[in-house]
């Protein structure tokens, strides 16, 4: 039965083959790649043409060369940052979705706890980040915590909206089936809220990168944020931009991972969009 219920929420088996979809993505990637190529060419040409000095804006060839030249170094630091992003994001996801449900379900929580969460959310984490160093030191923890804090709220708000959006009448159905709270959550509320939740997760994963980077800015000896600061301290513009590229690639990979997961978990939406 376990396998079966799994299948009910994750009907991946009925999705089109992975190979087919990968091919689809590659085709889809052609357009943005072309746009990028154009962008980079214009940039390469415009910077010398407009006499923009290198310490203000490097040309793409300069930082792409740096990226190749220092790839081993950059790769190591990228791994560190990716790990922080992943951990913080996962923590936020795992905590905020059930919490969102709880808050929506329990009147008292909505009244008493939610405003406090909102308040603490409204305290700009970036501003208290330096205190994190004093409180928690330099390890992995303060970065993951910061990432977590930045991811937490978007997912929470999105899942709350999602859980609220459910047509209440659907609950007649589960109630008449004698569903437990957990079953209703798992079989009805989560899938129904999923498109909202993913909208939140897509925002979250973007802010996760910011969280990790700021965490590294504030105190670290590894990671892309650290490398970026090193670049800044030597005014090494190509290194700065190489780091930004690496960071963006990490962001894109995570972002696509979330979108892939969305397609996998919500086959009913996928079918809808590509029909006709």
């Amino acid at each position: 039965m376990a396998a079966d219920t799994q299948h009910a929420v994750l009907p991946a088996a009925r999705a089109p083959g992975l190979a087919t979809r990968t091919r689809g993505w590659l085709a889809a990637a052609a357009w943005p790649l072309a746009s990028f190529a154009v962008l980079l060419l214009v940039w390469e040409w415009a910077v010398p043409a407009l006499e923009i000095p290198e310490y203000i804006l490097p040309v793409p060839s300069a930082f792409l060369a740096k990226l190749v030249e220092a790839h081993a170094l950059i790769f190591d630091h990228t791994l560190v940052t990716a790990k922080e992003i992943l951990l913080g994001f996962l923590m936020a996801t795992v905590i905020s979705i059930p919490l969102g449900f709880l808050i929506v379900s329990v009147r008292l929580l909505e009244k008493a706890v939610y405003p406090i969460i909102v308040f603490f959310q409204l305290v700009p984490k970036i501003a208290i980040a330096p205190l994190f160093v004093v409180w928690f030191g330099f390890g992995l923890f303060p970065k993951v915590l910061l990432t977590f804090l930045l991811c937490f709220f978007p997912t929470l708000v999105a899942s709350m909206t999602g859980f609220r959006a459910l047509d209440e009448r659907v609950l007649y159905l589960t109630r008449s089936m004698g569903a437990s709270g957990w079953q209703t959550f798992r079989y009805v509320r989560v899938p129904a809220a999923l498109s909202y939740i993913f909208s939140g997760l897509k925002v979250s994963i973007v802010f996760a990168a910011t969280g990790a980077i700021v965490g590294e800015f504030v105190g670290a000896n590894a990671g892309l944020g650290y490398l970026l600061l090193r670049g800044t301290s030597f005014l090494d513009m190509p290194l700065i931009f190489a780091c930004l590229v690496a960071l963006s690639v990490v962001g894109i990979l995570f972002s696509y991972a979330v979108e892939m997961l969305e397609g996998l978990l919500m086959p009913w939406q996928r079918k809808g969009r590509h029909e006709d």
Binding site: D4, S176, M177, Y187, K271
Partner: protein, 265 residues
């Protein structure tokens, strides 16, 4: 559905349902006004009345799904304070889950109730076969026609063989012909299994063709204004006009509706 289902509930398992002076208001608006009724164990009772008179509301209350403003529901002699669960419900608007295929919508019953999945799947397909939607088992609700959605919802109400059935205009979106067929099938199923049934319909043919008793409601605020015991032999034929008493029952209801001002001819 005319074949006996694999495991048949005894009439003894069925429940009696009683409503006592039920009032339901929405804000200042009274939807159901002081309604009392009883449905005996294994009895088939229909509810008929003009649109908006409170039939669906009353059914939800009887199933323990909507809070009532005053009054109470008594099931097997005990006041009902939670949703009835040994029940299959066909809701008026189907309430299929968009994110599950037709088959998975039906199997939700089995999953939530923790029934063994393989037999449930087999039975679901059996029901789909009978309802003529087996080919669409893997489609999502969006991809189904109106009538197909309704059939899925009927299959979902039957798959776990509950001892109480509540159906809110279950055959509304079916074609007239299938409707007669499925009405016949439901009657046979009921005769075999002795379920307690609350059946909401707009159709005199369905009400008279299926019920032991028909409750007639007035326009909003809904009250029960008549109760008609249908004394026809079972199973009843497709062409009810064959019974002279059919017209007597039908005319009685017609007269009421004319009195409500719902019909002018």
């Amino acid at each position: 559905m005319n074949a006996p289902m694999s495991d048949i509930a005894k009439a003894a398992d069925a429940a009696s349902i009683e409503g006592r002076q039920i009032v339901k208001t929405f804000g200042g608006f009274t939807a159901v006004d002081n309604v009392s009724f009883t449905i005996g164990k294994g009895e088939f009772v229909s509810l008929i009345g003009p649109s908006g008179c409170g039939k669906s509301t009353l059914m939800l209350i009887a199933a323990g799904l909507q809070p009532l403003s005053t009054g109470e529901i008594v099931v097997n002699g005990a006041p009902l304070d939670r949703p009835l669960t040994d029940i299959g419900i066909v809701f008026q608007d189907h309430l299929l889950l968009d994110f599950r295929t037709a088959l998975d919508n039906v199997l939700l019953q089995a999953e939530i109730r923790g029934l063994p999945m393989e037999p449930a799947r087999a039975r679901a397909m059996e029901l789909f076969e009978k309802l003529g939607i087996a080919h669409a088992a893997d489609r999502y609700p969006r991809q189904l026609s109106g009538g197909m959605r309704q059939r899925v919802s009927i299959a979902r109400a039957l798959i776990h063989n509950p001892s109480v059935l509540m159906m809110d205009e279950p055959f509304g979106a079916l074609d007239a012909i299938t409707r007669t067929q499925i009405r016949h099938d439901l009657e046979l199923l009921w005769m075999e299994t002795g379920k307690t049934v609350l059946f909401i319909t707009h159709s005199l043919e369905e009400a008279i063709g299926l019920s032991d008793r028909v409750l007639v409601m007035s326009p909003s605020p809904g009250r029960i204004v008549d109760e008609i015991r249908i004394e026809l032999p079972r199973p009843r034929p497709a062409h009810l006009g064959d019974y002279p008493s059919f017209n007597i029952y039908a005319d009685r209801i017609h007269a009421l509706f004319r009195q409500f001002g719902v019909i002018k001819y």
